[in-house]
């Protein structure tokens, strides 16, 4: 009997009831008695020495309670925001890790760097007063782009980081790659830029600090994807607050996409200031402040070369990438262009030798860190563009070239030359499903039809594989992680049979309250309404690592399964006692505990009641209670993979690109809630399409001013920019090393989509001889590309 709320059911989301009626509770919705408001004074310069701060006039403004600066934090011995990952350069030296104070002390290093904070009775009063804080700046020349920052004589972002080089790292076998290139029949080369993006979760960041004089306990309510990580980093490294005196709560969070993983200075400031002023302190970013201060994503400049034999078999891949870190190292920044990027450069292909070099560079821009996909979209985009160039140059059909080089399903588990071991995946199958879905054979006819309307048409593929379910702690530790990356869960049955599940994972749109409850409903036959999922509060949940890297179900869900295993073991003992049977004879069937071969059975509800009313328990063998905790540390990454196919139409008169169809075929392993999984894919696809066609974060290269500082200039994809999607998945390659067989689906859409769109755009423009275009393919870029490749007179 299929459980309508069990695994595989498209259960409608339980969290929707509050969101649809305006009862969601996001950080800025929370107000405390006596609450004050913080507004930051921020550097208007990309690079400047701070020579003096005069707050006297601001202090006299109505409603002002305090104006605090970096110097005040220094007096209070507030530390630097820590970086969670240590990378070593080729020569073995550790990365350069300059301090990153919540409020800048003597120098501002990007436009928006916090210089002071004003605390006042109302937000408008704090804003009014912030304008009155007089900061003396001595403007310095700025290093804005990664390429310019690396040039000799470039301004130094940090005086003690020569050449602005954070690290110079590599992975793979350079000698093997050189040898393979020496024998290649054909080499495809490509220079490409993976542009800078602003994550733009729709809820701007916010933080509310409180201090309880009586208990000495601090509470931070914040827009975070991982409250425990914030508690650990902020408590231990920044403010020196012991964990038992620091509670971090992440209530409803309006999207994250990576940008809410990191520990930000504002969180430390409101927590610290709440104690100083003796009242709750709230800060909420305005969108323009988010543009200036949320960690950005991507920003790679790369050169790549692919060696092939005469039949198009890939022999070796060589990649050199320059990654912009921004002005300081954000929490996970160094891991993104290294272990989440270079390790994925094998893609779905059996390329035997790969060598990647990555230089990470400081610039006078806001820090760059993980943004949906984090490293993996960069890898996928590079490989898939390069493969498409290779197909065009060798004349081999692009689907065929890919198929020829796929790691075959029979080769699984497969060790790549860049440190990962793929457990399962049938890449040819993804392609086989995709080709008829998009009517690949009918493309020529569709192109002709477009041509009749004066339009260009192109079709593009992207196959991707990602390492998700982050991460096996031992592997991560060996690669430089400074923390474990397991997840926790507690499954607590209540006496009346209802259940509370405490998870260290965090939901900010992913639907944990539904999916996680389905796991319990499936296992114990409990109606889903009787299962409560609790997340996001360090005072309630066991130590957990939160949500990022498509890890919630694969790691967090697996922890729940482990805790449920323990509950089941205990429940069997109780059942055996209640039914006067041997424990070995108790079987679990459809959520019922049955004595084998009899009709004697108990529900988990019966058992739970007994567990808490243990009037006749053999107490030396059986403790009362039914409440179990587990930590799950994965053995390997999970490897979602798939094939995306995009078709575009281009108006050559204006250069406007329209995505006319998009199909995604994915292998996420087992799917718990198809409705939610498809939703994750749709959202990811639009972020990928956004990168390909619309989004671009632009700083002025000289002044370091952010030019795309609002939605007036930073183009967010809207409903009328994108089509509806065709989404398919198959479940016959489940993950082999977690109990659910799940792989993760949160980032897949983003990872494949940009490459698929750009391949389609370049394909459409190939009749003009265009071989590459950098993202985003804006109308003007497309038009310029057409113009460059059109003989002058032909245009008339």
């Amino acid at each position: 009997m299929a459980n309508p709320t069990g695994i595989g059911a498209s259960v409608r989301r339980r969290e929707d009831a509050r969101f649809l009626t305006g009862r969601g509770t996001y950080t800025d919705d929370i107000n405390r008695p006596g609450q004050t408001h913080a507004v930051f004074v921020r550097s208007p310069y990309a690079h400047a020495r701070i020579t003096g701060i005069d707050a006297a006039e601001a202090m006299r403004a109505p409603g002002v309670i305090a104006v605090l600066t970096g110097a005040d934090m220094e007096t209070d011995k507030v530390g630097s925001l820590p970086c969670g990952w240590l990378i070593h350069s080729k020569d073995g030296s550790p990365m350069k890790e300059p301090p990153h104070f919540p409020i800048a002390r003597d120098r501002a290093r990007y436009v928006g760097d916090a210089v002071a904070v004003v605390i006042a009775e109302t937000r408008e009063q704090a804003k009014d007063a912030a304008e009155l804080v007089m900061v003396d700046y001595e403007e310095l020349p700025a290093a804005v782009t990664s390429l310019k920052a690396l040039e000799g004589g470039a301004p130094l972002v940090h005086d003690d980081v020569g050449g602005n080089l954070c690290f110079d790292w590599h992975l793979g076998d350079a000698a093997a790659v050189d040898a393979a290139f020496a024998q290649a029949a054909h080499v495809a080369k490509l220079d490409l830029v993976n542009q800078r993006l602003v994550p733009n979760a729709m809820e701007p960041r916010a933080a509310l600090g409180e201090y309880d004089r009586a208990t000495g306990e601090h509470t931070l309510t914040t827009t975070s994807q991982n409250p425990h990580v914030i508690r650990l980093l902020m408590g231990a490294f920044v403010l020196g607050i012991p964990e038992h005196k620091l509670r971090v709560v992440a209530p409803d969070v309006g999207g994250g996409f990576g940008s809410k993983i990191f520990h930000y200075g504002e969180e430390a400031v409101v927590t610290w200031a709440a104690k100083k002023v003796g009242r709750p302190v709230k800060w909420t970013a305005e969108r323009s402040e988010s543009f200036l201060t949320d960690a950005h994503g991507r920003d790679h400049v790369s050169h790549a070369e692919l060696a092939m034999d005469k039949d198009g078999n890939f022999l070796a891949l060589r990649v050199a990438t320059i990654a912009n870190m921004g002005a300081y190292l954000s929490t996970f920044a160094p891991s993104i262009p290294t272990y989440l990027y270079a390790t994925l450069l094998a893609g779905q292909y059996k390329t035997p030798a790969i060598y990647a070099e990555v230089k990470a560079v400081f610039t006078n821009t806001v820090p760059v860190d993980a943004y949906r996909g984090a490293g993996r979209p960069e890898a996928c985009y590079l490989i898939e563009r390069l493969v498409e160039v290779a197909a065009a140059e060798t004349g081999i059909d692009k689907a065929e070239l890919r198929r020829r080089n796929f790691v075959p399903a029979s080769a699984m588990p497969y060790q790549t030359p860049v440190a990962l071991q793929y457990d399962t995946g049938d890449f040819a199958k993804n392609l086989d499903i995709a080709l008829p879905l998009v009517d690949y054979d009918g493309f020529a006819a569709r192109k002709a039809e477009s041509a009749r309307r004066g339009k260009l048409r192109g079709i593009g593929f992207a196959t991707y594989i990602e390492a998700c379910g982050i991460a096996p702690s031992n592997v991560a530790g060996a690669l430089g992680a400074r923390a474990g990356l397991y997840e926790s869960a507690e499954v607590r049955f209540h006496p009346t049979g209802s259940v509370t599940v405490f998870t260290g994972s965090h939901s900010h749109g992913q639907g944990h309250e539904t999916t996680f409850a389905q796991l319990v409903s499936e296992r114990f036959g409990v109606p889903i309404e009787n299962v409560e999922i609790v997340h996001g509060d360090t005072s309630k949940i066991p130590f957990g690592m939160g949500t990022y890297g498509s890890r919630s179900l694969a790691v967090g869900g697996s922890a729940i399964v482990k805790a449920m295993d323990k509950v089941e073991r205990k429940a069997k003992k109780i059942a055996a006692h209640m039914l006067e049977a041997a424990e070995a004879d108790i079987e679990v069937k459809d959520g019922r505990f049955v004595v084998a071969g009899t009709d004697k059975a108990l529900t988990i509800g019966d058992i739970a009641l007994q567990a808490y009313v243990p009037h006749n328990f053999p107490l030396d063998e059986l403790e009362p209670g039914l409440d179990e905790q587990a930590f799950y540390d994965p053995k390997n990454f999970t490897y979602p993979n798939g094939c995306h196919v995009c078709e575009v139409e281009i108006d050559p008169d204006t250069g406007v690109v329209q995505v006319v169809s998009f199909a995604a075929v994915d292998d996420f392993g087992r799917v718990i809630n198809p409705l939610i999984v498809e939703g994750q894919v749709h959202g990811g696809l639009v972020q990928g399409i956004g990168q390909a066609l619309y989004e671009n974060c632009v700083y002025d290269e000289e002044s370091g001013q952010l030019i795309t500082g609002s939605y007036m200039d930073y183009c967010m994809p809207r409903a009328d920019d994108v089509p509806s999607f065709t989404v398919r998945y198959h479940e016959d390659q489940p993950c082999t090393h977690n109990p659910l067989g799940v792989k993760g689906c949160g980032e897949a859409g983003t990872i494949g989509a940009s490459a698929a769109v750009m391949n389609a755009v370049v394909h459409a423009l190939s009749e003009y001889g265009v071989t590459h275009l950098d993202m985003p393919a804006t109308p003007e870029r497309v038009w310029q590309a057409i113009r460059r490749h059109t003989p002058a007179q032909a245009a008339e």
């Binding site: 989301r13 305006g22 919705d29 409803d252 969108r287 939610i676 749709h682 809207r718």
Partner: protein, 165 residues
Amino acid sequence: MPCTVSMTVNGKAVSREVEERTLLVTFLRDQLGLTGTHVGCDTSQCGACVVHIDGRSVKSCTMLAAQADGAAVTTIEGLAAADGTLHPMQAAFREHHGLQCGFCTPGMVMSAVDLVTANPSPSEHDVREGLEGNICRCTGYHNIVKAVMAGAEAMQGGTMKAAAE
């Protein structure tokens, strides 16, 4: 300088003394505690703050509370029936998974209701165009569009029934 503004919000008459520079969204959130109306931008583009003024959808971040003096305002909190039954558009968003993080949702639903009121059987194209003032970062719009089409049908069913009575 403080001024008194009075309006009907979700059917109830309210009156508060506020600073004249108070935006409608601030009035709703801070004075009335109606935090379902969100603020997602400062350039009047994201639509997280959409409410209805005398039946028309507007961005409450781009209107002074004083401008709404005397008006009838409906927010997301006022959309469901008094007994808690979801409005057909809310129900359609749930059924079709038209929301993820929920932050854009109140504005999206309010825009959708206005759009469908003006155009009871919109095409997919109409829906996509009609929602151009609302940005969602989570859903990719696919399921929102599905939800609005379904919500439109359900709303029509509702009106037709009401008309028959």
